[in-house]
Chain length 103, copies 2
Amino acid sequence: MIKVSVLYPHKDGGKFDMDYYLRKHMPLVRERLGASLKSMAVEQGIGGGAPNSPPPFAAMGHLFFDDIGAFKSGMESHGAEFMADIPNFTNIEPTIQVSEVKL
Amino acid sequence: MIKVSVLYPHKDGGKFDMDYYLRKHMPLVRERLGASLKSMAVEQGIGGGAPNSPPPFAAMGHLFFDDIGAFKSGMESHGAEFMADIPNFTNIEPTIQVSEVKL
């Protein structure tokens, strides 16, 4: 199983509209990717390791695929549309992590 | 639900023993935290957003709790033991992200 994490770093002046992300963006991703998307997850950062420290990431979205080919195929078909929607909910440039699920 | 992510940044010279992590470290965490730990997840980084780019994180471990109090209580009791085990599988200083699960 492959997990693609879209990580939005916390920064001063960073804005992230979690309501839009949950109600519009992620449903768009789910609809476009269809059955190749096995599941998704979303988290909102609330803190870091030290007491009262900010979270490294303001928000994180995760997409699960059976294999890397399914992810690449989905991005080739729909990636431009997903990217074009990002300014509708954030001014933060995301960091992308592609991982193999081990547990 | 609270998700605590322990993120090991990819770096030159960084070492991460995934076998030890899966066989020894995470089972230790699971045993010590007991029922307060709702679930755990582990991923190994395989790439970044650009073709052939390294993953931002070499590895990621995630712990899920009902609330922040359960996490803090577990760390107060067992955090020192967990930290002391880190040099057994990596020379990378982890980044901690505490998040609220939204989806």
